[in-house]
Structure formats: structure tokens, C-alpha cells
């Protein structure tokens, strides 16, 4: 039986450049979504965090699903 953790870790390490370059885009999208829905600077800041958590969570789940499927198939 092959230990799945090293394989999963290797697959994730292969995606590190994509994650590294993707994080600024996630922050940018969160900022723009927040700023186009609010006018007050404090509200924009709060909404940016809110959007970042949502987008990060959704994309994180997608990445995890891709990794798991890559490992299973």
C-alpha cells in the first residue's frame, strides 16, 4: 500500500507556482468586488476580507478536489 500523503504533497508542490501567482489575483478580485459594492473606505476594507475568504474558500476547495481526483485517477 502506497502512502498517499507524499504523493498528495508532491502534487501540491507542483501547483505552488500557480498558487503563488494566483494569490495576488485573488486579492485583486476581492478588492474590486468590494469596492464596486461599497463607497465607505472602512466598508470596502471589511468587504475585501469577506470576499477574500469566500473566493479563497471556493478556489481552495476546487484545488483540493483537483488534487484528490489527480491522486485517485
Amino acid at each position: 500500500m502506497i502512502d498517499p500523503l507524499p504523493l498528495l504533497f508532491a502534487q501540491f508542490a507542483d501547483k505552488v507556482p500557480g498558487v503563488f501567482f494566483g494569490l495576488p489575483l485573488l486579492a485583486l478580485a476581492s478588492l474590486i468586488f468590494a469596492a464596486t459594492h461599497h463607497e465607505d473606505p472602512a466598508a470596502i476594507g471589511l468587504a475585501t476580507v469577506h470576499w477574500a475568504v469566500w473566493l479563497g474558500g471556493i478556489l481552495g476547495v476546487v484545488l483540493a478536489a483537483v488534487l484528490l481526483l489527480g491522486w485517485l485517477v
Partner: protein, 225 residues
């Protein structure tokens, strides 16, 4: 002039945060300015913080994307079988969409060379494409090993330039494209913000009972005064 200005109804939006009125001035002009340069329309409307924020964030991303892609990732091409679909997203920012279209039209037209001799925003050359000897010499200097046949008074491209870019840049080409496409697509939201003020929050089931009635002008909180 002043009387006309006073008589014209002013479009205002309502801030979703504190209910303050936002003067949209001329929303169509503001939207066009924001398309041309992200945030410029908001600056015109006097919303300096948001204008500066959009300008710094989106122009910054665009410039970083172009830097990662060595200035080759933004171009317009509708060659059969090889259309540049990423340009649809990049066209969300007029400051790069306009020069890219002009460069493409001129390079593929009778002039056979782009407006800017350096070839910035110019589409890649296809195998067998004819260009002026001056442009061929510039391309050869910029990309050693990329040669042309002599076809007086023109020069004929020996290889596909897009393949050469992708070989040279590797993943950088894709990452640069992604950055510029995302900047362009997000700028569409900025244009909408300039056109009608802050976008309406997504409605939730049962929220209608708790929230006050939308102001005159529809759910976007837009009204005339």
C-alpha cells in the same frame, strides 16, 4: 451654458453604507473614461479614493502582467484558426485595447508594419507572412535566430512567431496573459460602477422584509434630482 447645466437633471446614486448621495455627473462619459483608464471615471465624478484605488490596482496588475509576459501577451488577432480569445478579456481596458487593435490592423494591412516600431501590442507573425524589411530587421534583432526570406520589396517570415514566444517564455506567457485578462475583466465592474454607482448587493431570501424600500430609480439606488 450655466443655465443648461442647472436645468439638466443630475443623476445620483445612493451609497449603500451611509445613504449619502453620490453625484454621477455625466455617467456615460465617466464610464468611457473608466474604460479608457481604470478609475479615471471615478476621479472625474470626484470619488478620488475609489478612483485611485481602481487605478493603482488594475493598472498595476496590467503592468505586472505585461512585465511577466515580456510585453508580448496583449495583442489582437483574429486570424482564422488562431484567434486571440484572451483579447476579449483584455479589451476591458481601453488603454491597451485601442493600441492593440491599431497595431493589428496596420501590421495585417497594406502597410505591413505596426505603428510602433518596437512592435509592442503587435500580434505575432505567422509563417509566410510578408512584412517590411525594416520591421523584419527589428524582429530579428529582438529575437536572435528568428529569420526572414528576402521577397523584395518585402520580407517573408520563416517561422511562427507565437510558437517562438511560447518556447522562450514558457509559463510566463500564460501567467502574463492571465493577469492582463483578469485586469480587463474586472475593469468591466469598474465601468459599471462609474455608470450607475455602487452595484446592488445580492438579494437574499427574506431580506426584503428587513431592508427599506429601494429608492426611486430602481434597485441600483439610482435616481435623478
Amino acid at each position: 451654458m450655466g443655465r443648461q447645466e442647472a436645468a439638466r437633471p443630475r443623476l445620483i446614486a445612493i451609497s449603500p453604507d451611509d445613504g449619502a448621495a453620490i453625484d454621477l455627473r455625466n455617467p456615460v462619459l465617466a464610464a468611457a473614461l473608466s474604460w479608457l483608464v481604470p478609475g479615471l471615471g471615478q476621479l472625474y465624478q470626484g470619488r478620488t479614493l475609489k478612483g485611485g484605488l481602481f487605478m493603482a490596482a488594475l493598472l498595476g496588475t496590467l503592468v505586472v502582467g505585461m512585465w511577466i509576459g515580456a510585453g508580448r501577451v496583449v495583442y489582437a488577432s483574429w486570424r482564422p484558426g488562431e484567434p486571440r480569445l484572451a483579447f476579449i478579456g483584455q479589451a476591458g481596458i481601453g488603454a491597451v485595447a485601442i493600441p492593440a487593435v491599431l497595431q493589428s490592423l496596420r501590421l495585417n494591412g497594406p502597410a505591413r508594419e505596426p505603428y510602433f516600431a518596437a512592435g509592442l501590442f503587435a500580434p505575432p507573425l505567422a509563417t509566410g507572412q510578408l512584412v517590411t524589411p525594416a520591421y523584419a530587421a527589428r524582429v530579428s534583432r529582438a529575437e536572435p535566430g528568428f529569420d526572414f526570406f528576402d521577397r523584395p520589396p518585402l520580407a517573408q517570415c520563416q517561422r511562427d512567431q507565437l510558437s517562438a514566444w511560447q518556447r522562450r517564455l514558457g509559463r510566463r506567457f500564460e501567467i502574463g496573459t492571465l493577469y492582463t485578462v483578469l485586469a480587463g475583466m474586472l475593469n468591466v465592474l469598474v465601468v459599471l460602477d462609474a455608470l450607475s454607482g455602487p452595484l446592488p448587493a445580492p438579494s437574499r431570501a427574506g431580506a426584503a422584509e428587513k431592508t427599506p424600500a429601494a429608492p426611486a430609480g430602481g434597485p441600483s439606488g439610482r435616481e435623478t434630482r
